[in-house]
Amino acid sequence: MADHHDDLPKFCHPVPTKLLFGVFFALIFLTILTVVVSALAGSMGIPSAFMFPIAMTLATAKAFLVCAFFMHMWWDKSFNVIAFLSSLLFVSLFICMTLMDTGHYQSTIESYDVNQMPGVAELESEPAE
């Protein structure tokens, strides 16, 4: 997909200008789409529970475009791609583990009466300057 230049070294892949502009306009389109969907969600009858997945899907589509074409991942060595994508794996592990963990004791936190803690009553009555 890169321009073909015989005189360039083989690690040099200039991305065609048309492709770069195409990606840019696609990104702008997706950004506007995200804002419009978020603003019109109510009137379009999209349940609010779907809003978060929709917003994240659109963001991921944008992230894919940026990674693949602006960051040259499409033409990059697969080792670099694997290294980068593995970070996302660890991020998802990080998020899932902490969510599971806090999910287990959240009910305990919520059922705890903060006002029974020693000193809280005094703290609450101080001016919050």
Partner: protein, 375 residues
Amino acid sequence: MAVADHSHDHHDDHHDHGEFIAHHFDSPEQQFDSGKLGIWLFLVTEVLFFSGLFVAYTLYRNHHPEIFDQAHVYLNKYLGGLNTIVLLFSSLTMALGVRSAQLGKNKSCGIYVLITMVCASMFLGVKAVEYSHKWDMGILVRSAFDFTYTHPDQTIISGLSNYLVYLSVIPLLLLVGFIITSVVFRLIDKAVWSKFWMGMAITVGGYFLGVVIGYLFMAAKIGEAKHAYIEPVRPIALYAMTQDTDHAKEDHAKSDHVKGDGHDKDHDDEHDDEHHDAAHANGEHHDDHGHGEHHGEIPEFDRNVGTFFSIYYCMTGLHAIHIIAGIIALGWLYFRCLNNHWRSDYFGPVDYVGLYWHLVDLIWIYLFPLLYLID
């Protein structure tokens, strides 16, 4: 990256070494690939670095979605959208700059890098308008969240924010300094240095462009929907609902806005033991008992709204620090563009800084819907 200066002896070199090929690399390709692996690993650490904040966000949103519903009304999604487009555009010019460097076109590469820097500063300018507007409203991190600073009758949105002026002092000094430096270098006939500092002055000018655009954007938004915009901006009312102290009483007494404090106080004392069950009971409780006379015009606020803004400031602040670091790195590229350093077998630094810049853009792509588009 260590770069050996072979400019004086590179004709004697037995390899096909260019000007900037470090002596421990066999070929330009090996040097490029090593650098590229290095920058990708750095980006991995960056992703993991930011992921801590994303975890904080996810946990807090997961366990307290009501806080996010209340807090997002303070964020201006149009300013956020404007900033997204500015950053996407800077990514485009960065990618075009990399392409120019690959083709050895140093002049156009310099122009693209300069546009990228200007966009980065513009982003910061818009951000400064956003931040200062929030600070005017007393919206700070959780521990410093100030419900008393602004009286609702003072029109927060009209006039120039003091905070914005303070924030703009550093860019203003930089702007003046860069212009003077540029002129001095012009006088002593160092054209490249003079151009470089003029480029940096233009970059800082981008900040002021961002401030003006952000300000106009906000003014237009307020002009078209004045009522809707002002409504959530009631820090004193927020304070009244969430505080129950003598100090609060004094403040209330001064403003006509909030009535019936005596009742409020008594009510609370009676009901304290019965009703305070959860962390966010305060807001609802006070609203139910003390401020029915507001006819529901004020949304029910939770004191923990401040925690959302702690997360907001950490995420966008860390991102802004990355933008500043990016501008410095881009400035270095710009200087080397002016010195005609890039050739089709040596463009690595442009590519690496470009990758970093796209990552900063990538993080914003996620921050924007997560923070600004909560519905």
